[in-house]
C-alpha cells in the first residue's frame, strides 16, 4: 500500500443510515474502496470475498456481537480494527481494546475524529511515511522527512521535536498540556521532565519561528501547556 487512501475499509453496523453516513464520509475523504455490512454473516462474506485493510466494527449486531466477530476475523488475518459503538461503559471499552483492537470510539462521534483516528491506525499498522506537511507561518515542516524549511534554510528536527510537533499539529488550535506532551515523548513515567520539555520547545521554536524569543505560532499557555496556533 502506497497511500492510506488506497486502503480497503470494511464497515460493519446494523444501522443503514449510519453505514451510509460513514461510508459517504470515508469516500468523500478519499478512501477508494469501502465495503459495508449490516451483520456478522454479511461481514464474514465480505471478508472472504475481499480481504480489507482496516475494519470499523459496531458491537451490537443483529446476528452476534462485534467482539466475537473481531476475534473470529482476527484469527484469519491480522488486520487493524476500530470499534465504533454506542456502548460507552469503561468495561466495554477496555474489553474491546484488551482484545487487541487498535481504537474504540463511542457514538455519537465526530466523523472528523473518526477519519483522523483511522489515518493514525493505518499509518501505524502499515508503517506508511507521513506525507504530511505542517505550515507554521512562513515555515514548512515535512513530517515525513523531519525537516523544517524557513527562509531558504532547512533544519533537521530531532525525534523528540518531531513527536512534539506532531502532537501539537494533531491538536492544532487547541492547548496541549505539559503532561500530554511529556507523555507523548517519554511515556507514562514522565514526571520530572517538565524542564526538559521547555528546552525541547525552545529548540523547536528556533527552527520554526521567525523570532524564537517572541513566538507567534508555537505559543505558551501559562500554567497549562502549549498551543500551535492555526494558520490565519
Amino acid at each position: 500500500m502506497q497511500d492510506i487512501f488506497a486502503a480497503r475499509v470494511l464497515l460493519v453496523d446494523d444501522q443503514p443510515e449510519l453505514l451510509a453516513l460513514v461510508s459517504g464520509r470515508l469516500r468523500q475523504a478519499g478512501y477508494g474502496t469501502v465495503d459495508t455490512a449490516a451483520g456478522c454473516a454479511e461481514a464474514r462474506a465480505c471478508f472472504a470475498a475481499h480481504r480489507p485493510d482496516v475494519m470499523i466494527l459496531d458491537i451490537n449486531l443483529p446476528d452476534g456481537d462485534g467482539f466475537s466477530l473481531f476475534r473470529e476475523l482476527r484469527r484469519q488475518a491480522d488486520i487493524p480494527a476500530l470499534f465504533l459503538s454506542a456502548r460507552d461503559a469503561d468495561a466495554d471499552r477496555l474489553f474491546g481494546l484488551g482484545l487487541g483492537a487498535d481504537d474504540y470510539l463511542t457514538k455519537p462521534f465526530l466523523t472528523q475524529e473518526l477519519l483522523l483516528r483511522l489515518q493514525g491506525i493505518l499509518r501505524r499498522a502499515y508503517r506508511l511515511p507521513s506525507q504530511r506537511t505542517v505550515q507554521i507561518g512562513p515555515c514548512t515542516v515535512r513530517l515525513g522527512d523531519a525537516a523544517a524549511e524557513l527562509a531558504g534554510r532547512t533544519a533537521a528536527l530531532t525525534a523528540t521535536e518531531l513527536t512534539l510537533l506532531q502532537k501539537l499539529a494533531d491538536n492544532r488550535g487547541h492547548i496541549v498540556t505539559f503532561d500530554a506532551l511529556c507523555q507523548a515523548v517519554w511515556g507514562d513515567g514522565y514526571y520530572g521532565y517538565e524542564n526538559a520539555l521547555g528546552v525541547h520547545i525552545r529548540h523547536l521554536r528556533e527552527k520554526v519561528e521567525v523570532e524564537p524569543s517572541r513566538p507567534r505560532y508555537l505559543v505558551t499557555v501559562r500554567g497549562l501547556g502549549y498551543r500551535l496556533e492555526v494558520q490565519p
Binding site: Q15, E17, L18, L21, V22, G24, R25, N60, A86, R87, D88, A89, D90, T106, K107, P108, F109, L110, T111, Q112, N171, G173, H174, I175, V176, T177, F178, D179, A180, Y191, V221, G223, L224, G225
Partner: protein
C-alpha cells in the same frame, strides 16, 4: 459482645445476691422462730445459781433470802431442796414426801445428769452443799453430749469445707446455666450484628431463646428478600437508563454526522452543538444512575492532581465557548504535585460539568477560575465565576439536598456531588463574592 459479657456478669451478681438474700432471710426466720419458741420455754423467774446463793442459815435452820417470798424465789419450779455434803436433806420447799430422804453419791450423780423420780432437776453448789431445783415432770427433755476437742475441730473444719463445696457447686451450676444462656444470647447477638450489617442471618439457640432466634431468622429472611427486591429494582432502573442512553446514541451520531457535513454553515454548527449537549446529558444521566445504585465501579489509580487539573483547564479552553469567556488557572506547587487515589475519568467529568456549567449559564461571557491548593490531607479544588451565579432555588436544592416537586433539575451538578462523594470527598456550592457561582471540592489525598 461487650454488652453480652456485662449481661452475664450482671446475671451472676444477681444470682449471688439472690442466694445471699435467701440465706439472710432464712437465718432471720430461724432466729425469729427461736426467739418466739424461747418464750414458750418452761418459765422460771430466777436461775438455779441465784436461788442457790439466796439460801441463808437462820437460827432455826435455813431460809431463802427475805428480799422475796419463797414462792417468788421458786416461781417456775416445782420444788427445791438443799443437800449437805453427806447427801441428807437439810432444807426443802414443796418437796414431795417420797423424795425427802438421804441420797447416795450414785443417786446424786444420776439425777444431776438425768431425772429424779421423773422430775428434771437442776443442781448448784453453794456454801452448804448442793441446791436441787426441780421442774415439772415432762416439761423438759435432757440430753447428754460428749466430744473430743479434735472432734469439734473436725466438725468445724468439715462444716467450712462443706459450705465451700456447696458454694462452689452452686456457682458451677449457676455458671453452666449462664454459659448456656450466654451461648444462645451470643448467637442472637451475632445474628443482630449480621442483621445490622445487612448480612444473611441464621441463628441457632436452644431453650427459652429459641423462639427469639426464630423471630430473628424470619426478620433476617424478610430483610434479605426486601434487599433483593430493592437491588433488582435498582438494577432494572440502571439497565433501563443505560438502555435508553444506548438507543439515543445512534440517532445522535447521525445528527452530529450530517450536521458536521453541512458545516461551516452556522445553523448546522448549532445543531451539532445541541446534539453534543444531548450527548453530555445522556452521559450524565447514565453515570448518575450508575453511581446512585453502585453499578459503576470506580477505576481507582494514582492520579497526579496537576495533570488532571491542567487537562480539565485545557479541555475547557479548547471547547467551543461563548465569546468573552476567560479561564484563570491557578495551582499552587504542592497541589500540582499532589497525588490522588481516584478515577481520573470521573473526576475529569466532574470538573468538566462545573466549568461548562459556568460557561453555559453566562452566555454573555464571564471569567471562570479553576484553582487548587492543599489543605491538610486534602486537595481543595475551587471552580468559581463572576457571572450571574446559581439561581436561589438551585442553590437551596444543592445546599439542602432536598428533592421536592419543584426542585430544579440540576443533573450535572448533582453528578459532581456524587462523583466527589464516591471519592470520599465533599462538595460545597455557594455564591461567589461579589457575584457569581462557586463550587469547592475537597478530596482526600492518596
Amino acid at each position: 459482645m461487650k454488652s453480652l459479657c456485662k449481661l452475664a456478669a450482671r446475671c451472676l451478681l444477681a444470682a449471688v445476691g439472690v442466694a445471699l438474700s435467701l440465706v439472710i432471710v432464712l437465718l432471720s426466720v430461724l432466729v425469729g422462730v427461736g426467739l418466739h419458741e424461747a418464750q414458750n420455754y418452761p418459765y422460771s423467774h430466777y436461775q438455779v445459781g441465784e436461788v442457790a446463793q439466796a439460801l441463808r442459815r437462820t437460827g432455826s435452820g435455813f431460809a431463802l433470802d427475805a428480799a422475796h417470798t419463797p414462792e417468788e424465789w421458786l416461781d417456775g419450779y416445782e420444788w427445791a431442796m438443799q443437800l449437805d455434803e453427806q447427801g441428807s436433806v437439810i432444807w426443802r420447799l414443796g418437796l414431795p414426801a417420797g423424795l425427802n430422804r438421804d441420797y447416795t453419791v450414785g443417786e446424786v450423780a444420776g439425777f444431776s445428769r438425768w431425772y429424779l423420780d421423773g422430775y428434771p432437776v437442776f443442781v448448784w453448789r453453794n456454801d452448804y452443799g448442793l441446791m436441787v431445783l426441780a421442774k415439772a415432770k415432762g416439761s423438759i427433755w435432757r440430753y447428754s453430749y460428749y466430744s473430743t476437742p479434735d472432734a469439734v475441730w473436725v466438725a468445724v473444719r468439715s462444716a467450712v469445707q462443706a459450705a465451700a463445696f456447696v458454694l462452689a457447686a452452686a456457682l458451677l451450676v449457676c455458671g453452666l446455666l449462664l454459659w448456656r444462656l450466654w451461648r444462645s444470647l451470643r448467637s442472637i447477638g451475632e445474628g443482630l450484628d449480621a442483621l445490622a450489617q445487612g448480612q444473611p442471618v441464621t441463628v441457632q439457640a436452644e431453650g427459652i431463646l429459641s423462639e427469639l432466634a426464630q423471630t430473628l431468622d424470619c426478620t433476617g429472611e424478610l430483610l434479605r428478600r426486601q434487599n433483593e427486591a430493592l437491588a433488582r429494582r435498582d438494577a432494572a432502573r440502571t439497565n433501563w437508563v443505560a438502555g435508553v442512553s444506548h438507543d439515543i446514541r445512534t440517532p445522535l451520531a447521525l445528527i452530529v454526522g450530517y450536521a458536521e457535513r453541512l458545516e461551516p454553515d452556522e445553523t448546522a454548527r448549532k445543531i451539532r452543538m445541541q446534539a453534543q449537549k444531548i450527548k453530555a446529558l445522556v452521559e450524565d444521566l447514565n453515570l448518575t444512575s450508575k453511581l446512585q445504585y453502585n453499578a459503576q465501579p470506580l477505576r481507582l489509580a494514582e492520579v497526579q492532581a496537576g495533570a488532571l487539573l491542567r487537562q480539565a483547564a485545557a479541555d475547557f479552553c479548547n471547547s467551543e465557548l461563548p465569546a468573552n469567556t476567560r479561564l484563570v488557572f491557578s495551582l499552587d506547587e504542592k497541589a500540582g504535585q499532589a497525588l490522588l487515589h481516584a478515577d481520573a475519568a470521573l473526576l475529569a467529568r466532574a470538573l468538566e460539568n462545573l466549568l461548562q456549567n459556568a460557561a453555559r449559564h453566562n452566555a454573555e461571557g464571564c471569567t471562570v477560575t479553576l484553582a487548587a491548593n492543599c489543605n491538610g490531607g486534602h486537595l481543595v479544588i475551587t471552580v468559581s465565576d463572576d457571572g450571574t451565579g446559581y439561581p436561589p432555588a438551585v442553590l437551596t436544592a444543592l445546599q439542602t439536598g432536598e428533592t421536592g416537586e419543584n426542585t430544579p433539575h440540576i443533573l450535572g451538578l448533582h453528578l459532581v456531588e456524587q462523583i466527589v462523594a464516591a471519592h470520599g470527598g465533599q462538595t460545597a456550592f455557594s455564591r461567589n463574592q461579589p457575584h457569581g457561582a462557586k463550587a469547592v471540592l475537597t478530596l482526600p489525598l492518596a
